[in-house]
């Protein structure tokens, strides 16, 4: 072919293709015209027919919200239940005059400004044909008043609903937690489909942690409705599947005893079963009534709780950071034995103070006149500070910190309740990172008696005590003991979660430490000897008194003249029976003064309740689920 011929071929090829392109273009335009004709038929000629189908006889899908699972304590006493209530619901689309309707309802039912403004807010979040709750928990009186005026209130209806209720009120406010209205942030996280028709979601505690188990699966029914929105018939339905019932390790008797034993002190008690990590009681005082949060707490009530100096909303058991004081000594002592810094026979002389070699600063023992010759056992029993100053100084902060890590100080225990604090177990690296300062040897002494930078949460202290009780075999604390599928009568027990055992050079060191703690309670000079009487077994314990207010070098602590908020915190950790532990506990009484006189007696009360050593008022029979 000549170049000219090739070029001519191109020209004819392009003509061919362009012809086809134009044909295809025209053909496409025709196809689209067909579509437009179809649309005109549907949207113009048959518009009224379809609009009627759409508006007057619409099939709607109604969600059937699942029943939230119940929560029981270990005895089967109900801690969270669902009670039927009446609520006022508004479908905006069907309301003729919203302002007039709200005005009439306000006079009828004494709605507050707050009720109205919240309703308006919710109104914005829902579509016009969706039910919006105006007011939960109507009284029967209010329902009756509404019924009389109903004909003047199109689009407003009284609907029966199941609402969460906490029959034990304050008692489990922090551990079981509470549910509240689903907020916008939660809206982003949840599976919206599954929460259709559900108003509440777990906000704190067990209610939040096990939301997935408790909530269940939403059901649906397809219904045909008439002009007024009344259901004409049900076409098809898928029932909702209730959430699972939860059975907790918590024991209401122990919980109540712990809350009562704290009297009007602020503080926290954690009792657990060291064999499986089950939380038997967990109290944080002051507390609050979780029922306030369900139907929407008023701003004033909330502000009062939030701004209270005593911080009742704050879960001290998991978040409160306290210096452990002398309750840290069993762990420091064990570190000393393990690292060979002391042994059971070695002695230290306590003149009432201790100075670092080459320094004049005197670190005082709590007993100013001194304890004299101290060994491992007597130093624990009498909580001699000088013995522990010397031990810590020889141990050094690095080894001490490393050993305390094994007991999970400064780490979350992993309890199945959200919001746990890590506390703080200080180290050379931590101080460099957060204060940009070197570690001073004097700080090792202070750390060794549980003061200074040390901050532990009550759950950490109880958990570490449980590890000690089990001679190193720790179990992750758990509140949930078992769950039950809806319709089933079999409990699915949760497995205990064993932790990495604490490795020791000699198992004798465990016994030496435990024996010294038995001395605290049962020894002649033990700091908690007043609780060691009339017992069929031995308790191992340790008192602690943590300074809130630091005193100058030679000042005296005078409880009479100090503000109560500056009084020392009273602490006690213990487990019993010492040789075969069934419970371990940690008690912190804020500004309680002395561990031995305030905290230790609480522990004894709880041990008595747990082992049935003392006649306690029994719970009413009708509280117990069959």
């Amino acid at each position: 072919m000549t170049p000219w011929q090739t070029f001519k071929d191109h020209i004819s090829e392009y003509r061919l293709i362009n012809g086809r392109l134009i044909f295809a273009g025209v053909f496409s335009a025709l196809l689209f015209s067909a579509v437009m004709v179809r649309l005109v038929i549907l949207q113009v000629y048959e518009h009224e027919h379809f609009e009627a189908l759409s508006n007057r006889n619409r099939i709607s899908i109604e969600p059937l919200p699942p029943q939230r699972g119940l929560i029981f304590d270990r005895n089967g006493v109900i801690l969270a239940e669902n009670v039927p209530t009446f609520s006022l619901e508004v479908v905006p689309e069907k309301v003729v005059d919203m302002e007039a309707t709200l005005a009439l309802l306000t006079t009828l039912l004494n709605l507050t400004e707050e009720d109205i403004s919240r309703f308006r807010e919710r109104l914005r979040q829902h579509r016009r044909f969706e039910e919006v709750t105006l007011r939960l928990r109507l009284t029967e009186d209010e329902v009756a008043r509404f019924a009389v005026h109903r004909h003047r209130l199109p689009g407003v209806e009284v609907v029966g609903r199941l609402i969460r209720h906490y029959p034990q009120g304050h008692l489990f406010a922090h551990s079981v937690g509470y549910v509240g209205r689903i907020n916008e942030r939660e809206m982003q996280i949840i599976n919206r489909q599954n929460y259709k028709g559900t108003l509440h979601i777990g906000k704190t505690g067990i209610e939040k942690q096990y939301e997935d188990l408790l909530h269940g699966t939403v059901g649906y029914r397809h219904v045909e409705t008439n002009v007024q929105g009344r259901i004409v018939r049900e076409l098809q339905s898928v029932p909702a599947e209730s959430g699972q019932d939860l059975y907790l390790h918590l024991d209401i008797n122990l919980q109540r005893a712990a809350a009562e034993a704290l009297t009007d002190y602020n503080g926290s008690v954690v009792v657990l079963d060291p064999r499986n990590g089950g939380i038997l009681a967990m109290v944080s005082k002051p507390d609050f009534d979780p029922n306030l949060f369900i139907s929407g707490i008023s701003n004033r009530d909330y502000a009062e709780l939030r701004d209270s100096h005593d911080r009742p909303l704050y879960d001290r058991a998991l978040r409160g950071r306290y210096p452990p004081g002398s309750t840290l000594k069993p762990f420091v002592g064990l570190a000393g034995l393990e690292m060979g810094v002391v042994n059971e026979q070695s002695r230290t002389f306590c003149p009432g103070w201790y100075s670092l070699p080459g320094h004049t600063h005197r670190y005082r023992c709590w007993r100013h006149q001194g304890h004299g010759q101290m060994n491992f056992s007597s130093a624990m029993a009498q909580s001699c500070d000088v013995y522990y100053y010397d031990l810590s100084n020889n141990l050094g902060i690095d080894r001490l910190h490393q050993f305390l890590d094994l007991f999970r100080f400064g780490q979350r225990t992993g309890i199945d309740i959200p919001g746990e604090n890590t506390g703080l177990s200080p180290s050379r690296e931590w101080k460099r990172a957060f204060h940009n300062e070197p570690w001073y040897p004097g700080e090792t002494l202070i750390s060794g008696i549980g003061q200074g930078f040390n901050q532990m949460t009550p759950i950490q202290l109880a958990h570490a005590t449980a590890i000690l009780a089990m001679r190193g075999m720790g179990m992750t604390p758990q509140v949930l003991r078992a769950s039950r599928m809806p319709g089933s009568d079999r409990l699915q027990l949760r497995a205990a979660l064993p932790e990495e055992p604490v490795p020791v050079v000699s198992s004798r060191n465990w016994e030496a430490t435990v024996e010294s703690m038995i001395e605290v309670v049962h020894g002649q000079r033990g700091t908690a000897r007043q609780i060691g009487v009339d017992l069929p077994f031995e308790i191992a314990g340790k008192t602690g008194t943590a300074q809130v207010f630091s005193l100058g070098q030679d000042e005296e602590y005078d409880a009479e003249t100090l503000d109560r908020r500056l009084h020392d915190h009273a602490l006690f950790v213990a487990f019993a029976p010492a040789d075969n532990p069934e419970i371990a506990l940690a008690i912190i009484v804020e500004n309680g003064g002395s561990g031995s006189s305030v905290a230790a007696p609480i522990a004894r009360k709880l041990i008595d309740v747990h082992f049935g050593l003392q006649k306690e008022p029994e719970i009413e029979v009708d509280d117990i689920e069959q």
């Binding site: 392009y14 061919l16 496409s28 189908l53 579509r127 397809h222």
Partner: protein, 375 residues
């Protein structure tokens, strides 16, 4: 010399001229961006006013646009040379999927299969027209009967493999894109008509080969009212939504049919019904006009292309795009049976959008890599 006319004249580049230097076609880009804007507007309503959904869609759009820009940089001649390799890799993947699909029919079938199913068939959506166009453009047009048969085999192999997955909608669209190339290449009308006759004769055979669910779709298409709560549900509800929209629609966010949640797949395959309900005949008319304008620009680009290969390819891509729209809208309005084809660039979802914009990338590349002809 590869120079754009503007810079040759030594004048400062206009915005359009600048776009051209980065191989982007202004009018096409504008049309696509408007479509995407409409998509976000409608998805906000159809998806229950959930911003998370919008954000995910925007991320996909951005990714797809990047793919488009990247592909627009590749010279069409290079695409031609890559065509056989890409096609063979795609085929190998399709075969792998079929084998894998047999093994993986457990509970996780959707997840695993979904990931694998999509990729090779999406590659084929572009690889088939490129390969067929490259093959046919090797010799002068119109193609010989033998060449046409070979091209048909090239189309049939991936189509059958994908139909076997089974993904009838995608298989059909891939076959269409290839057949359009053959049509544009100018095979005689006689052949076209005899093939059409043959195809209608083969319909009973096809019926025999179809899966149960596919037969059911065809049957319900014939008479949707026969099964109002089962297979006909989609079509009935979709028609009610469209019809109740009327001339001007119920207004944005006001569509009760879609928001009452019985219009199924309202963010994906049936999103056209939401638009029709909320914006009425005027709204969907403007949308369809926009689709036609974009296609017209594509056809113009095909007409202006300088090689036979580029013309065939560009024409096929532009027309296939319109077929997508037609199949989806036809399905939603009850003109065509229900096959799972999304409304291009409007429906929620990512994979098909990337492929579509890659196709527009090719169109832009064809248009902006033209050499100035010597006079």
């Amino acid at each position: 010399m590869i120079l754009s006319s503007e810079s040759r004249r030594g004048q400062p580049l206009s915005f359009g001229g600048w776009l051209r230097t980065i191989h982007i076609d202004g009018p096409l880009l504008l049309g696509l961006l408007i479509l995407m804007g409409v998509s976000l507007l409608v998805l906000y309503s159809a998806g229950g006013q959930e911003t998370g959904l919008l954000v995910r869609q925007m991320i996909r759009m951005a990714a797809a646009l990047l793919v488009m820009v990247a592909i627009a940089q590749i010279n069409p001649e290079r695409m031609r040379s890559w065509a056989p390799g890409v096609f063979l890799v795609g085929l190998a993947l399709l075969v792998a999927v079929l084998i894998f699909g047999i093994v993986g029919k457990g509970a996780q079938r959707w997840l695993d299969l979904g990931f694998f199913r999509f990729q090779p068939s999406e590659i084929m959506k572009l690889a088939v027209p490129i390969l067929v166009a490259a093959y046919i453009a090797e010799r002068p047009l119109p193609p010989s009967f033998f060449r046409m048969l070979v091209a048909l085999v090239m189309i049939a192999i991936p189509t059958l493999l994908i139909a076997k997955q089974p993904d009838l909608g995608t298989a059909m669209l891939i076959a269409t894109s290839g057949l359009i190339v053959i049509f544009l290449a100018g095979i005689s009308w006689k052949i076209i008509i005899s093939f059409l006759a043959l195809a209608s004769a083969a319909a009973p055979v096809l019926w025999y080969l179809m899966h149960d669910y596919q037969r059911r779709r065809v049957l319900t298409f014939m008479n949707p009212e026969s099964d109002p709560l089962g297979a006909g549900y989609h079509i009935i509800q979709s028609k009610i939504a469209i019809g109740s929209g009327g001339l001007t629609g119920r207004g944005w966010l006001q569509g009760t049919q879609s928001h009452l949640e019985f219009l199924p797949e309202r963010s994906t395959d049936f999103i056209f019904a939401v638009i029709a309900e909320e914006f009425g005949l005027l709204g969907v008319g403007m949308l369809l006009a926009l689709y036609l304008l974009i296609t017209a620009r594509g056809l113009y680009i095909a007409g202006q292309a300088q090689t036979t290969f580029a013309r065939l390819l560009a024409g096929s891509i532009a027309l296939t795009f319109l077929v997508y729209v037609f199949v989806n809208v036809g399905m939603v309005t009850g003109l065509l049976p229900v096959v799972g084809v999304p409304l291009p660039l409007i429906s929620y979802g990512g994979t098909s959008m990337v492929t579509l914009l890659a196709g527009f990338g090719i169109l832009m590349s064809v248009h902006t890599h033209r050499r100035m002809m010597s006079p």
